[in-house]
Amino acid sequence: MKRKEIRISGFGGQGIVLSGYIVGKAASIYDKKSASLTQSYGPESRGGSCRAEVVIDDAIIEYPYLVTPQVQIILSQDAYNQYGKNAAPDTLVIVDSDLVKVDSSQKAKHLSIPARRMAEELGRPVVANIIMLGFLAATSDIVSYEALKDSILNSIPKGTEDLNMKAFEFGYNYDVEHEDNA
């Protein structure tokens, strides 16, 4: 397998680091590959600009940092300005359409989903990141659907399984051809 890389960025409190952890765990424990997670630390992960970066490979991962991510999930305008605008042409950029105004001159393929608004519809804005992971499973081959689902179930507080699975499916079934992505 070719090395795969993903960056999830936004601001602290959006579940960025947990999302990275879930993706890494899905790849390494459930898809039985190697994965490395590096992340923001300290005040930035608690409100400031925040990012989580995961490298996935069949072989042992030597260089643990990103070179060219296949996928970027971006949940804030600041993060988009920093990372989204420099995305390589073959990077898939996924944004929350309510939080990020994309630059239409970019060559990279962009997809958007109003994850936060959808989470509010479910009554819990906190699951926006899980909706985003559902959408990730539907639109990329970074990690498998099953692995991602198992990893989420293994990473969330007990008693929230139903809510999180509902959120995951909500994101997974979101119409990619939605007008946001037209």
Partner: protein, 371 residues
């Protein structure tokens, strides 16, 4: 699991049942994990008032019979140096973990560095030898923490784990097998009855058996120069005998202690010599160099102290140059240079800290080394 947590789990697998520490980025997660896990296995975890007390408490716990550990980063490592020397002098098994960040002083608290490598060797005063290991990943720090406890029990010396922020904070898969009792080393206990016990009378390997406080053995330990009974003796001769033995018990057993790994060195004429997180970057750089037709190889130092001088000397006969990437401005490169002598060049690839080298930087140095 992140490297800090993996280190804590390795310690518990090795039989560590005492941790005393003072929180410091990027080592705090280690203390946090210990505070959660030690009570579950009947151990004790104490948050101390500072690093001086942490190191002192670890020495005390070891003399009370427990395998003991502390963890810190640069500023705390400096504060632990005095009592680390006491640990060496009293021949106290214990493990000190340094999750290095970029210094000097407070430096870059949340970002990586490898600037404490010489401090690990020479940070306390006086002539002594110590053991230091450098892990490259969360799995590696788990494994090396077990090795660290084994070496410290075997040689009755504090063992240092010289990790860094990247290894401490990155999360990767960690396999934690149940460690069989036969794979764990326990300090040698005295075979003689109380009353006959000489606490500093060594066996043939220069390591004295160690009694535990409260078992009926009455003895005295002191940081002053002492004789085999443990009593202070302020003479040149006693000092000569003691310091020689403290140093020689490591030097003469170095073949048992020193570990390294090699990748593609068989035909290499440029050898990258790296340790810690830099090994992983160097591996990629060596592969890139091979693709360009350069005969590059990698020597990974697992044991930093005592230094793998014999292997470097041997490799200096075949290699044109050693390339030494370090996240400091030149420390281990001095040792490589010393061992390589006039036979091979030692080329430093420095990084002042805060991040790791880019593979291209190391590749560039490999290319230059071929000239």
């Amino acid at each position: 699991m992140n490297g800090d947590s993996a280190c804590a789990e390795g310690a518990i697998s090795a039989g560590c049942r005492f941790f005393a520490g003072y929180p410091i980025t990027p080592a705090s997660e280690l203390a946090e994990r210990m505070s959660e896990r030690l009570p579950q296995v009947g151990g004790v975890c104490i948050q101390m008032e500072d690093e001086l007390a942490s190191m002192a408490a670890v020495l005390g716990a070891s003399w009370a019979g427990l395998k003991a550990m502390t963890a810190t980063s640069g500023p705390g490592f400096s504060l632990m140096m005095e009592n680390l020397g006491l640990g060496v002098m009293l021949e106290t098994p214990c493990v000190l973990v340094n999750i290095q960040r970029a210094g000097p002083s407070t430096g870059l608290p949340t970002m990586t560095g490898q600037g404490d490598m010489m401090q690990a060797r020479w940070g306390s005063h006086g002539s002594y030898e110590i053991i230091a290991l450098a892990p490259i990943s969360p799995q590696d720090i788990f494994d090396l923490t077990i090795l660290a406890f084994n070496l410290s029990e075997k040689y009755r010396v504090p063992v240092l784990i010289m990790a860094d922020e990247v290894v401490g904070h990155m999360s990767e898969k960690v396999t934690m097998p149940t460690i069989a009792a036969k794979d764990l080393v326990e300090r040698r206990r005295p075979k003689v009855k109380p009353g006959k016990y000489l606490p500093y009378k060594p066996d043939a390997d220069l390591v004295p058996p160690m009694a535990v406080a409260g078992e009926g053995y009455h003895f005295h330990v002191t940081g002053l120069t002492h004789d085999e009974r443990g009593y202070p003796v302020m003479t040149v001769e006693a000092h000569d005998r003691l310091v020689r033995r403290l140093v020689d018990k490591i030097r003469l057993n170095r073949h048992d202690i020193i570990k390294y790994k090699e990748f593609q060195v068989e035909d290499a004429d440029i050898i990258v010599c790296a340790y810690g997180i830099s090994v992983r970057i160097a591996q990629l750089a060596v592969r890139m160099a091979r693709e360009e037709g350069i005969r590059a190889g990698l020597l990974q130092l697992i044991t930093i102290w005592p230094f793998a001088e014999q292997r470097i000397r041997e490799l200096s006969l075949q290699a044109k140059a050693f390339v030494v990437p370090e996240i400091n401005y030149g420390q281990i490169v001095l040792e490589v240079e010393r061992c390589a002598g006039d036979r091979a060049r030692a080329i430093l690839v420095p990084h002042m800290g805060g991040s790791v080298h880019s593979p291209q930087t190391i590749l560039e140095a490999i290319r230059e080394a071929t000239q």
